[in-house]
């Protein structure tokens, strides 16, 4: 699409203000707004006025006292959590907080172990005691240190993934699509959280059957025209839980075109990219 000028922008202002431009048109207008302060101001004014006026045109309705009680009770609980997150993100946050605590513990263990290594090194040099036994102990402690480092790195990676999901869930346009296990994996369940604006998504699944050697799970985004697009492969942990961050997600490949549904298949590792595996998770049929 060619860049918009001021006249073209002003033709589209009202449609933009009420959210009626498709993604490509909106991007073109926003591109012009970034370069033209006058048009940017006009667009913001039109959007504010349209939002207020059209919202006020909705028939007035009263919310129930029960809703207020629910909201206030939730707010009171959420106030006790140290980092602000949305309601949907609360359990993610709680999980992330637990992992942070675990990392702190592992880090303390690593420091303690390093102190032991240093102490043993000094003893080894100064006393020249039983070199063979001392070396074995030193090697064992170094092994402890390496395992601590590996565990710490693994937990840090999990926390980073959790944080990416939490960030995604606080996007204004976030969508949550539930996924249900098929007959091939009746205990499986999950959600796909995705944001067209961020061009990103996150799959969170639980209850997945363990993989055999040479197998992977693959996530698919399916469009109304039956086009299947792979969103990546993954393996669950020992408990059957898996998380997959999808960057450059095929959420919005063409303006106004959104995925129809999502699914996860069991694939032979060499067959990923071809939608031929056994389906284990899927979003509800349209």
């Amino acid at each position: 699409m060619r860049p918009l000028d001021c006249a073209g922008t002003r033709d589209d202002i009202d449609a933009y203000a009420i959210g009626a431009l498709d993604a490509e048109e909106a991007r073109a207008l926003e591109g012009h707004m970034a370069a033209c302060a006058t048009c940017a101001r006009l667009v913001e004014e039109a959007r504010a006025e349209a939002t207020l006026a059209l919202s006020l045109s909705a028939p007035a309705a009263s919310s129930s006292p029960a809703l207020k009680a629910r909201v206030m009770a939730s707010a009171a609980v959420l106030r006790e959590l140290p980092v602000p997150r949305t309601r949907q993100a609360r359990w993610w946050y709680a999980g992330a907080a637990g992992l942070v605590a675990a990392i702190a513990s592992v880090s303390a263990w690593a420091i303690f172990t390093q102190v032991r290594v240093d102490r043993l090194d000094r003893r080894n040099a100064a006393l020249r005691l039983d070199a063979t036994a001392q070396s074995r102990e030193l090697a064992a402690v170094r092994g402890d240190l390496q395992r601590a480092a590996d565990l710490s790195a693994g937990l840090a990676s999990t926390v980073a993934t959790q944080n990416q999901i939490v960030d995604l869930m606080t996007e204004p346009d976030v969508r949550r699509t539930p996924l249900q296990g098929t007959a091939a994996a009746p205990a499986a369940n999950g959600h796909y959280v995705w944001s067209p604006a961020r061009d990103a998504g996150a799959l969170v699944a639980a209850g997945l059957p363990q993989l055999a050697t040479g197998e992977v799970y693959e996530m698919w985004v399916v469009y109304a025209d039956k086009r299947w697009t792979s969103a990546g492969t993954f393996s669950p942990d020992a408990s059957g839980t898996a998380r997959l961050i999808v960057r450059g997600a095929p959420n919005d490949e063409a303006p106004g075109v959104l995925p129809s549904w999502f699914c996860v298949t069991l694939q032979a590792a060499g067959a990923s990219g071809r939608s031929a595996g056994t389906m284990v998770l899927r979003s509800p049929t349209q």
Binding site: I18, A20, E49, L54, A58, M72, A76
Partner: protein
């Protein structure tokens, strides 16, 4: 907003009392289901409570931002898979409000917000629009449809829909300005 940032529950309750019905009304208009509209309302207010810093005072009035969040959240809910077919059978804008489970609160003036006068003015302005312009605007705003999608739904050329939206919005703005100046309605 400063009191919200300071985790003042009393301030949050005051804000809820002031805007809850407005947020609920917009959500109900979009999703056409009181239970879903309550869920949307709860999400919107808890989002404000947990992340008050998301509102940037430089971007305009708080109420405008709140309504924008409400509309976007409601549209997302409307597009939910479990409700998609039902809504496609009865899209927003075609109900014209008369089938919605609404309660006008003109019998309870003590609880009317400061926005009630503006609501009356907006309704008058909307009534002045030709029905085809009003419908195109409502399908876009409350139905979350693009101009092309509105054109497809109405079986009209895209250019016609663009013109209806542009003229409708201009006419509504003009009518609101007339009312603010105390001038005659067109």
């Amino acid at each position: 907003m400063d009191r919200l940032t300071g985790r003042d529950l009393g301030a949050f309750e005051a804000l809820y009392d002031r805007y809850a019905d407005l947020v609920f009304s917009v959500a109900l208009r979009v999703v056409s289901d009181a239970h879903v509209a309550e869920d949307v309302t709860q999400d919107v207010f808890l989002r404000v409570w947990r992340r008050p810093e998301h509102y940037d005072v430089r971007r305009g009035k708080f109420v405008t931002w709140l309504l924008s969040v409400t509309r976007n959240r409601s549209i997302d809910e409307r597009r939910g898979y479990s409700r998609r077919l039902r809504h496609e059978a009865m899209p927003a804008g075609e109900e014209e409000g008369d089938t919605l489970p609404t309660t006008d609160r003109t019998d309870d003036p003590a609880q009317m917000t400061v926005l009630s006068d503006e609501r009356t003015a907006v309704r008058r302005a909307m009534e002045l629009l030709p029905p085809e312009q009003r419908l195109a605007i409502q399908l876009a705003y409350f139905g979350g449809l693009t101009q092309q999608e509105v054109a497809n739904k109405l079986g009209q050329p895209l250019g016609t829909v663009k013109t209806r939206i542009r003229l409708g919005m201009q006419k509504m703005r003009g009518a609101l300005e007339d009312q603010r100046r105390g001038g005659p309605e067109r």
